[in-house]
């Protein structure tokens, strides 16, 4: 009934051999804050049933937990699921087993970002990186800067589609051209750099 096209490129789950380097994936996920909560998952599917965006995901949240526990690193990290998650936390507050699904999704995003699994397919990662660069530069997010940077990272078509909205916002004085830079911008950049060098770009 809706004319809006879903980017619903659900893929068939592939059968992947249990390679030795994949065996510790679940431990890796559990070492990220929040990731350890998947241990108590009972596979009831409340999370998937609650998710507003499950139909746009390669795998549902429940399936992601199952695949992680089965150490299917590649399928998990190259899926779009965690990038579609909008962090609305409905699954988290509903989970009867206390699994923090949203934090689990964030953990997967950070691992995919670090290992490069998500880089090719995820517009969300490009957006998040543009967002972080804006913070690094100014200490605050400059919305116009983030949008331009995001579209420059290879989303020309979406830029054209987004233009009318951008212009309308601009006309109402809601898109300032100049960024606001905090006095401690350099100090903040040093904080970020220190955190990244310590962790090799991820947690």
């Amino acid at each position: 009934m809706i004319g809006i096209k879903r980017d619903n490129h659900r893929r068939k789950p592939a059968v992947v051999r249990d390679r030795p380097e994949e065996r510790d994936f679940v431990r890796e996920v559990e070492s990220v804050p929040g990731g350890e909560t998947i241990r108590s998952c009972i596979q009831c599917g409340t999370c998937s049933a609650s998710c507003l965006f499950a139909s746009s995901m390669d795998y549902t949240p429940r399936m992601m937990i199952l695949l992680t526990k089965a150490n299917r690193r590649k399928e998990v990290l190259s899926s779009n699921t965690m990038w579609i998650c909008a962090s609305c936390y409905l699954c988290t507050v509903r989970c009867p087993a206390g699994v923090e699904i949203t934090s689990f999704m964030h953990a997967l995003e950070s691992l995919a970002a670090r290992d490069g699994d998500g880089k090719d397919r995820s517009a969300a990662l490009k957006l998040y990186s543009a967002f972080m660069d804006s913070i690094r530069k100014n200490g605050r997010v400059h919305e116009l800067g983030v949008m331009l940077d995001f579209y420059r990272r290879g989303n020309l078509l979406s830029a054209i589609k987004a233009l009318p909205v951008g212009l309308a916002l601009f006309a109402r004085g809601r898109i300032p051209l100049k960024p606001i830079r905090i006095r401690a911008a350099k100090e903040l950049a040093a904080i970020i750099e220190s955190a990244e060098s310590e962790t090799g770009g991820a947690r």
């Binding site: 804050p33 909008a86 969300a124 998040y128 804006s134 995001f150 809601r174």
Partner: protein
């Protein structure tokens, strides 16, 4: 004249207030004055990183938020933010550094590598502005100050997601009613609105527009079916998504959505008798003036003259 007690808070506005949510900034400022709330902006605060930074790097994202928590720890007041995303991120980070001792050690180390040493309180009371208005100021005090009743204006109370989740704080995580109660106290009517705590799609609007647009469509459609004349929200990103993308949805689907989206501080300020211009009423992409004019055709001459300018 009775001088009322002024309540003081540390204030974390969030980045959107200086951009897409300019009207929120204006109206918060005005409303705070009338309600005797003093919002003392954290000096040289930095971006909370929102969901984006939490997703890309854990230690870095916790560290930049911890800097803000440390700045707020120097003051004795509660920390208040009008942005639902900042609210959740600040609360998450505060909880995580207590919950994961290793993370805390690393965050403190990283902060020391910045120029100044920062320390933060183990517990800082982090609150949403809506919570402060509802709990500290209270609807009774607000009612006493209403000079321009909302006259039965039909409002869809859209709370959004992160204001009530994942933290069980001042309202129900699935069926919040703060905005309903506020609208009623101001003389308006809160319509039945099942999408009250649904997600607006947040940054999916940029990263996966089809998914984001559909999320917005569902919310707008629900408000239309409930015959709401406008939607009220308490989050900068919700307001922008619902307000700015109705045109794009209409072009795509041939619908005729045209429903103005107010910040709760705009409706509140309007009812408190504040000049609509000072509340940023002209900053809506879907004009907010039209719906107000419909309800106040007579009486307030200056208001009508002012509101007519654009509509």
């Amino acid at each position: 004249m009775k001088t009322e007690k002024i309540r003081k808070y540390s204030y974390f506005p969030g980045c959107a207030m200086d951009g897409t949510a300019a009207a929120y900034k204006m109206s918060v400022h005005e409303v705070a004055k009338v309600l005797d709330v003093e919002l003392i902006e954290l000096e040289d605060w930095n971006c909370c990183g929102s969901t984006a930074s939490a997703s890309v790097n854990g230690v870095a994202s916790h560290s930049i938020v911890a800097r803000n928590l440390a700045l707020a720890s120097e003051k004795e007041w509660d920390l208040v933010t009008p942005c639902s995303s900042c609210y959740t991120v600040l609360k998450n980070v505060q909880a995580n550094v207590q919950r994961y001792p290793d993370l805390k050690v690393r965050v403190e180390e990283v902060l020391r590598n910045g120029r100044a040493p920062y320390t933060f309180k183990p517990f800082l009371n982090i609150r949403h502005l809506l919570e402060v208005v509802m709990q500290d100021v209270g609807l009774e005090a607000i009612k006493a100050k209403v000079t321009r009743s909302l006259n039965g204006l039909k409002v869809a109370p859209y709370h959004g997601c992160q204001i009530v989740r994942p933290w069980f704080t001042f309202d129900d995580p699935e069926f919040p009613e703060s905005l309903d109660r506020m609208v009623k106290a101001l003389g308006g009517e809160a319509v039945e609105f099942p999408m009250r705590a649904a997600c607006c799609g947040a940054s999916l609007m940029l990263s996966a527009p089809d998914v984001g647009l559909d999320a917005v469509r569902r919310i707008i459609d629900c408000a239309e079916k409930a015959q709401a004349e406008c939607i009220v929200t308490a989050c900068p990103l919700c307001q922008t998504n619902l307000d700015a993308y109705q045109g794009r949805i209409n072009r795509r689907l041939g619908t005729k959505y045209n429903i103005p989206i107010f910040f709760f501080t705009q409706l509140l300020g309007f009812a408190l008798g504040i000049d609509p211009k000072a509340l940023g009423i002209e900053k809506g992409i879907v004009p907010q003036e039209t719906v107000l004019l419909k309800r106040w055709p007579l009486g307030d001459e200056a208001l009508v003259r002012h509101l007519s300018v654009r509509s």
